[in-house]
C-alpha cells in the first residue's frame, strides 16, 4: 500500500506569492496513496529537511513528493534526506511548482490549479517507483590528462602526487602551453617561465607520469572507470631515448626560415627544432613539411652531426593503447585570428583593423613574445615591419569579444588585465613611449587586479580611452588609428607605430572533435560544457570525464590552476574507492519478451546494448536477446522508444510511471 508524503515548499514567497500553498495542501491530501501533506517555508533548509525526515519516520512513508523548485536544483538534496531516514532515494520525486509555475504564472487561481496537477502527476509517478540501488563497476586507478599547458600540468602533478599513475598527452613537441610563451604575469609581474618551467621539469621527471608529447588522442572507448584510450604518437624523426638534446642537429640545420609556432610567427626556427630552450622533453622534432630530407630526400645534415645516432628519417606514427579510469581535459585556448579569412560565414573577420595586412598590427600573444626575454628579439621591443622601437603603441580590447555582429558574444575576461600589463611592460622597456588603450569596460575583478590597472594608468602613464576603434589604416609607416573617447564624446585619432589587438579567446583547434570522442557537450563557441555552472564546475555530463582551464571558458592562470586542482581532486575522490557507483536510472531488457530484432542495438547512442544468447544447461540455444551493459548505459531511453515489443525499459522513467503521469491528467 502506498504511503506517500507530499511536502509543499513556500520557498519564502517565491512560491506562496502566486500559489495558494495551503489550499494546495488540502487538495493534495486527498490524492490516492497520499498519507500526509504539509507545507513549510523553506523545505530545503535544515528544519525543512528535518520535518521531512520526521514524517518519513512517523508515517512510515514508502514514497514522497517534494513540491518546490526544479529537480535540477534540489532533487539530490531531498533524495539524500530521504536516504538518511532509510527511505530509498529513488522513491522521491519532485513537482516543479516554482520555475514551471509560480515564477511564470501570476494568476493565483490558475497557478494553484497547475501546481495541483503537477503534484498529482508526481504522486502518480512515485506510486510506481521502485527502490533502486546504485550500480557498481570496477575501476582502473589511472588518469589521462589531455593537454600539457599550465592546467594540464597542475592536474597531472596533483593526481600523480596523490600516488596515482597519470598519462599526459600533449600535441605540441613540448609541454608548457601558452603560459610558457608569456613574458611576465599579472598582477605580480613575475616571470612566467620562472614559475612554470620548474613545474614542467617536475612533470618530466615524475615517476607516476607517463608523458606523450607530439601526440594526439585518437580514440576513446569504454566508460567511467574503464576507458581504453588510443594515443597517436606522431613521427618525431628523433629517437628521444638516444637523443641527448645537445643541439648539434638544429645548429646544423640549413633551413632556418620556418615561422616559429612558439613565437606566433614573430621569430623563425629551423626544420629540426625544440620549440624553446626550456622545453620538456628538451628533445627536438623534425618538421616533416620543412625538412628537405623528408620532402625531397636531400640534406641529412642533422643525422650526420648527431653523435648519438638519434635521427631516424624513417620514423612512423605509432598507436598506443592506455587503460585509464578517469580523463581530465585541459586543451586550453587560442587567440582568434581575426584576419580576412574566416572558417565560417557567421564570423566576418575584422577587415577594418588590417590584421594580416599591416605587419605592425599584431595580437596580444605576439606582443608577449616581442617583450619576452626569451623571445625572438631577446626582450627588446621592436616592431615587425622594420625593427624600429615603437614610440606610440595602441592596445585595443574586445576585438572579436562582446561582438554579436561578427565575433563572439562573450567577454574574453583576461584581456583587460593583460592590456594593463602590456602597457606597463612597454613603458618599462620604452621609457619615452606612450601606450594607449581603447576599452569598453575595465573588468578587473580579482585579488589586486584593479589596483594593478590603476597602477598602469597612474604610475606608468597609460592613456586609456573609453571607446572602440573603428578603423586602422597605414600611411607613411604610421598606423592611423581612428577611435573614440566616449567619455569626452569625441573621436580620437592616434598615429601609432604598433597596434596590439586583444582578440577573443577561443577554444583550441580540434576541441569539438575531441569532445565528440569523449561524449562531452560543448557550447556554440566550442567551449566544453561543465555539468553544472555553479555546483559541478569541473565535471562533465560524460561520467569520469573532467574539464579544467580555458577549454571550458576564458580564464586566467590562477583560475586555470585552481580548476585543474579541483579536477584532480575529483579524480582522487573517484580513485579513493575500489569501485564506481553509478546512477541506477538506466535501461534494461526483458529478455524473456525480447523478440531479438536488435533495433535497439542499432539505435543505442552508447553501443551499450549487445546481442546475447540464452542457452540451457546443456548449452542448447533457447533464444536470442538484446542485453544492456550497465557500465555503458547512460539512461537516455532511446531503446525504449524503438522497441516494438516494449521489452526495453528505463528505470526512473518506466512505461508504468510515464503512463501513470499522463493518465493522472485525464
Amino acid at each position: 500500500m502506498a504511503r506517500i508524503g507530499v511536502f509543499i515548499c513556500w520557498c519564502g514567497e517565491n512560491i506562496s506569492r502566486h500559489v495558494d500553498v495551503e489550499k494546495l495542501a488540502e487538495q493534495c491530501a486527498h490524492l490516492p496513496g497520499v498519507r500526509c501533506c504539509l507545507t513549510y517555508k523553506y523545505m530545503c533548509s535544515e528544519p525543512g529537511q528535518n520535518l521531512i525526515r520526521e514524517k518519513i519516520r512517523e508515517e512510515r512513508l514508502n514514497g514522497m513528493v517534494v513540491a518546490s523548485c526544479s529537480p535540477h536544483m534540489h532533487l539530490k538534496t531531498f533524495r539524500k534526506a530521504a536516504e538518511a531516514e532509510g527511505l530509498n532515494p529513488y522513491l522521491v520525486e519532485m513537482a516543479n511548482i516554482r520555475e514551471h509555475c509560480s515564477w511564470v504564472h501570476h494568476d493565483v487561481k490558475a497557478a494553484t490549479a497547475k501546481a495541483a496537477d503537477l503534484i498529482r502527476m508526481a504522486v502518480a509517478k512515485v506510486r510506481r517507483n521502485h527502490a533502486l540501488s546504485p550500480i557498481r563497476v570496477p575501476l582502473t586507478k589511472r588518469a589521462l590528462v589531455i593537454g600539457g599547458g599550465v592546467a594540464g600540468i597542475q592536474a597531472a602533478l596533483d593526481i600523480a602526487d596523490a600516488g596515482h599513475e597519470v598519462v599526459l598527452v600533449e600535441r605540441e613537441p613540448s609541454i608548457g602551453g601558452k603560459m610558457a610563451g608569456l613574458s611576465e604575469t599579472f598582477p605580480t609581474l613575475d616571470c612566467s617561465q620562472c614559475i612554470l618551467t620548474p613545474r614542467m621539469v617536475e612533470v618530466g621527471q615524475h615517476p607516476n607520469i607517463r608523458l606523450y608529447t607530439y601526440s594526439d588522442v585518437e580514440a576513446v572507448e569504454g566508460y567511467v572507470g574503464n576507458f581504453s584510450v588510443t594515443i597517436r604518437k606522431r613521427a618525431r624523426y628523433v629517437d628521444i631515448s638516444k637523443c641527448t638534446g645537445c643541439g648539434a642537429c638544429w645548429n646544423a640545420c640549413p633551413n632556418k626560415k620556418t615561422p616559429s609556432e612558439f613565437d606566433f610567427g614573430m621569430g623563425k626556427r629551423s626544420a629540426i627544432y625544440v620549440p624553446f630552450p626550456q622545453a620538456v622533453p628538451a628533445r627536438p622534432v623534425i618538421d616533416a613539411n620543412a625538412c628537405t630530407m623528408l620532402t625531397k630526400g636531400k640534406c641529412g645534415l642533422c643525422a650526420k652531426k648527431c653523435a648519438a645516432g638519434a635521427i631516424n628519417f624513417k620514423d612512423q606514427d605509432e598507436l598506443i593503447t592506455e587503460k585509464v579510469g578517469a580523463i581530465v581535459v585541459a586543451t586550453g585556448y587560442k587567440l582568434w585570428d581575426i584576419g580576412k579569412e574566416q572558417e565560417n560565414a557567421k564570423l566576418a573577420g575584422y577587415g577594418e583593423y588590417g590584421y594580416g595586412t599591416y605587419k605592425d598590427v599584431i595580437n596580444s600573444l605576439q606582443f608577449e613574445r616581442l617583450v619576452s626575454a626569451s623571445g625572438p628579439t631577446g626582450g627588446e621591443l621592436r616592431r615587425p615591419s622594420d625593427g624600429a622601437v615603437p614610440k606610440t603603441v595602441v592596445f585595443i580590447s574586445c576585438v572579436g569579444s562582446r561582438d554579436n555582429a561578427k565575433g563572439m558574444s562573450y567577454c574574453s575576461k583576461i584581456c583587460c588585465m593583460y592590456n594593463a600589463k602590456h602597457t606597463m611592460l612597454y613603458k618599462h622597456k620604452v621609457h619615452d613611449g606612450q601606450a594607449h588603450v581603447f576599452y569598453m569596460d575595465i573588468r578587473a575583478g580579482g585579488k589586486n587586479y584593479d589596483e594593478f590597472v590603476r597602477r598602469a594608468i597612474e604610475q606608468d602613464g597609460a592613456q586609456y580611452h573609453r571607446g572602440r576603434v573603428s578603423k586602422i589604416t597605414e600611411e607613411n609607416g604610421k598606423l592611423i588609428v581612428r577611435g573614440v573617447d566616449t567619455l569626452a564624446g569625441e573621436p580620437v585619432t592616434i598615429e601609432a607605430d604598433l597596434v596590439v589587438l586583444a582578440t577573443a579567446m577561443r577554444p583550441a583547434d580540434g576541441v569539438e572533435t575531441l569532445a565528440q570522442k569523449l561524449n562531452v557537450g560543448y557550447d556554440e563557441y566550442g567551449f566544453l560544457s561543465e555539468s553544472h555552472p555553479k555546483l559541478r564546475p569541473v565535471e562533465t555530463n560524460a561520467a569520469g570525464v573532467f574539464v579544467c582551464g580555458a577549454c571550458q571558458g576564458p580564464k586566467d592562470i590562477p583560475e586555470s590552476v585552481a580548476q585543474a586542482s579541483a579536477a584532480a581532486g575529483k579524480v582522487q575522490v573517484m580513485f579513493s574507492r575500489e569501485e564506481i557507483t553509478r546512477e541506477p536510472e538506466i535501461a534494461s531488457i526483458d529478455e524473456r519478451m525480447c523478440a531479438a530484432c536488435f533495433t535497439c542495438v542499432r539505435a543505442c547512442p552508447y553501443n551499450a546494448i549487445e546481442r546475447a544468447e540464452i542457452r540451457d544447461r546443456a548449452g542448447r540455444l533457447i533464444k536470442r536477446t538484446a542485453r544492456v551493459n550497465p557500465g555503458l548505459c547512460m539512461g537516455c531511453g532511446t531503446c525504449v522508444a524503438v522497441c516494438p515489443s516494449k521489452s526495453a525499459e528505463l528505470e526512473g522513467f518506466t512505461e508504468q510511471q510515464v503512463y501513470a503521469m499522463v493518465e493522472s491528467l485525464g
Partner: protein, 280 residues
Amino acid sequence: MNIGYYPGCALHGSSNDYEQSVRACLGALGVNLCELDDWICCGATAAHSLNHKLAVALPARSLAIAERDGYDDLLAPCPMCSAQLIKARTALARDRALREEIAATVELPLEGRTEVLNLIQIFQRIGLERLKSRATRSLNEFKPACYYGCLLVRPPQALRFDDCEHPTSMETLLSELGAAPVEWNFKTECCGAGLTMCNERTVLDLSHKIISNAAAHGANCIVVACPMCHVNLDMKQADIERHYGIRHAMKVYYLSDLVGMALGLHENELGVNRHFVSTP
C-alpha cells in the same frame, strides 16, 4: 544579353555622361539595356531621411514593374538607387505582412524576386575572361585609385557585395585590363554624397581628403561607379581646389569609361569630354 535597366534620376539628369558611358561600354560588349517602363525615382536620401515608409514604397514600385515585365536582373548603375532597391527588396522578402501592405500601396503585386545589380556586378557577370578577350587596348598608362564610396558596399548585411572594408572587385577588373591600381586608404570613405547642395563644406572637406590620399599613394586618376561620387570629386574639384588653395587636377573616370577605353572606344564616345576635370 538582355538586361533590365534602371537608370535613376541622376543618369537621366546631370549625370547623363555616366549613362552615355555605361550604354557605350555595355553596348560594345553586346549587352542590351532594356530600360524599365515608367520607372519612378527611388526616393534617395530624402525619402529615407524624412519618411521611412516612402523609402520602401518608392523603390518597391519599380521593383514591382520589373517583376511584372519579367526581368530577373536589374542593373542600377547608381549605387544610391541600387542600395535603395536592394534594401527594399530585402525588407520585402523578409516580411510577408509588409509585402502585402506595400503591394497595396504601389498598386502592383510584388514578391521581391528581381535581383538588383550594380555596374561592377554586370562586368563580373560578363566575366573577366570575356572582357579581356574583347579588349583591344591596354590600360597601362592608368594608375587608378578605385573609389567605392559608401553605398556600393554598405551596409554589408543588406548589400552582400565584396569586402566592405577592403573591397577589391574594381581593382581585379582593371588590373586584368592592364591598369595598375594603387593601394590607398580612402576606398570606402564617404565623399559627402547627397549633402552637395545643402552642406557644401562637409562635401568639400571629405572629397578633398579622398583626392589627396589617392594622389599621395601615386594614383593618376580616380575611378568611381557612382554619379554622386563623380559630382563631388569631379564637378566640385574646382571648388575644392579654390577652398584649400591647392591644385589637384585629378581626373575622375567612371568605371565604364576605363573599361570602354580598353574595348577600344574613344573618350568622346564615352562622354569623358564632358567631365569637368580635363587633361591639362
